[in-house]
Symmetry: C2
């Protein structure tokens, strides 16, 4: 999808939130915000929001010298999620359809996202089982899953990656690839996070080649692109991946929460709705 | 007060809200947002937020050709407020201290403000009498009021101006001047609104000389400046006037709701708190 006018105020709000993490120096905050606005004012194009968003984050990193402002938050998210891990496993194990419950676990993991500015609130674990998917293409998901030999799973955020692991562990006899960002950006999952979450024990972990809070195919590594075109099934987590892959040249499954008006309106849902969408299955609902 | 880093994302959000009122053309919205960001990126200074804010609104007006985007909303606000007027009068008339109740009426009128993006919600009229002022300098207000012969009342928004009229009608035997903005800006009160509200029947109405969502003394007319320095008592309504007059060279009373974090933190209150503050009476609470 292309950037929408509403994205600009949101990007500037994100920039300010990030600057508050990086420095208490208000003169510096103001200077960098102006630099960000200058860059956005100059920006000509109709790229997906994550491509524009990284302009913002890279500007902040260069101007302040802090390359990974969310590093501590990410570690904390991974730690909290790993504490929940045994409880998530137990829930999945006693579910009537463990795969479906694991799918819901993975979607709930997507609420951990600092970029969009909502506060960290882990729904009580009991709520996961009752979670209603507002768009629910699980029957198609299940069918394609049964047939698939290779699965490419495109990760989203730190913390969330532990929830992804719970889903991946339900994949029986599949060859699973787990893609992460190629550089630190907001709280997005990197190699380091994937290792902290133990994903490397259950999947082949690779960088996508894309250094953005999403997956920019035109910048992806050849390894990733090959996997992307040839995997039997692709699972894309989170809104950033949706924003960059909604017009990708193949079918895939999006697992996400709608976190802003622009995406919610595009999908005809409400902010906060949890969704399992087969791309190309139109209409979405 | 000076502009704060947090004001920039807020200004851009306001710009987008205003643009949505003016045009449904998303390409135009984006172009104007970029023009606004370019202007803000170039802005060098430490003026009060309303002086920077008008840069935003003037840019939108010039770029879209719509000089007064809130005109219809303002008319609607005046109309709704005039419907409430008899009920407000009745409430004041049966109050034990009509002046104090009228002060609270005037403050409640300040919730009518589209600029800061909260939705129009008129508290039930009954709630006005129970309204708690979180900073309450009414005893000093009452004392100075008794002594005053001339009162300068600096208006804030359309709609709200009807509530101001209720307070002004409680002023017995005073010479009252009511100042409005010198040009249309957001939903701020202009000559036209003051006349619609009937303020000209109870006070001398004048333009301040300042075309901004606040009162910029260095741009005020000589008539206004003279009144400002010589009136026995000044009542300043709303946050925009507070932001521009909090360091004015004389005492005055601020009646306002804190509508954003920056002002709330400056005053040590919460967003939404209603306040009657004597400038210079330190500490504020």
């Amino acid at each position: 999808m292309k950037i929408h006018p509403e994205c600009y105020p949101c990007l500037l709000r994100q920039a300010y939130s990030t600057l508050k993490l990086v420095t208490q120096d208000e003169a510096l905050q103001e200077r960098v915000l102006k630099e960000v606005m200058g860059k956005l004012a100059q920006y000509q194009g109709s790229d997906p929001p994550p491509k524009v968003s990284r302009l913002v984050y890279w500007t902040i990193a260069r101007a302040t010298g802090v390359e990974d402002p969310y590093r501590d938050k990410k570690k904390e998210c991974n730690r909290v999620a790993l504490e929940l891990y045994p409880h998530l496993k137990e829930m999945v194990n006693r579910a009537p359809d463990p795969l479906f419950t694991a799918v819901k676990v993975a979607i709930v993991g997507n609420i951990i996202d600092f970029g969009v500015g909502r506060s960290f609130e882990l729904e009580s674990l009991e709520a996961i089982e009752k979670l209603e998917l507002v768009i629910n293409h699980y029957p198609i998901f299940r069918e394609e899953y049964e047939e698939a030999r290779t699965i490419l799973y495109i990760g989203d955020n730190a913390g969330e990656v532990v929830f992804d692991r719970v889903l991946i562990e339900e994949f029986q006899g599949k060859e699973v690839y787990f893609a992460v960002r190629s550089g630190p950006i907001i709280n997005d999952v990197t190699l380091e996070d994937a290792h902290e979450a133990g994903i490397d024990q259950v999947a082949y972990v690779l960088e996508s080649g894309s250094w953005a809070p999403g997956t920019l195919l035109d910048e992806a590594s050849s390894q990733f692109k090959e996997l992307f075109m040839e995997a039997d099934m692709i699972i894309s987590k989170g809104q950033g991946n949706f924003e960059t892959l909604d017009d990708a040249p193949r079918d895939l499954f999006f697992l996400l929460r709608a976190k802003c008006d622009v995406v919610a309106q595009l999908l005809g849902v409400e902010i906060g709705d949890t969704l399992l969408i087969k791309k190309g299955a139109t209409p979405y609902r």
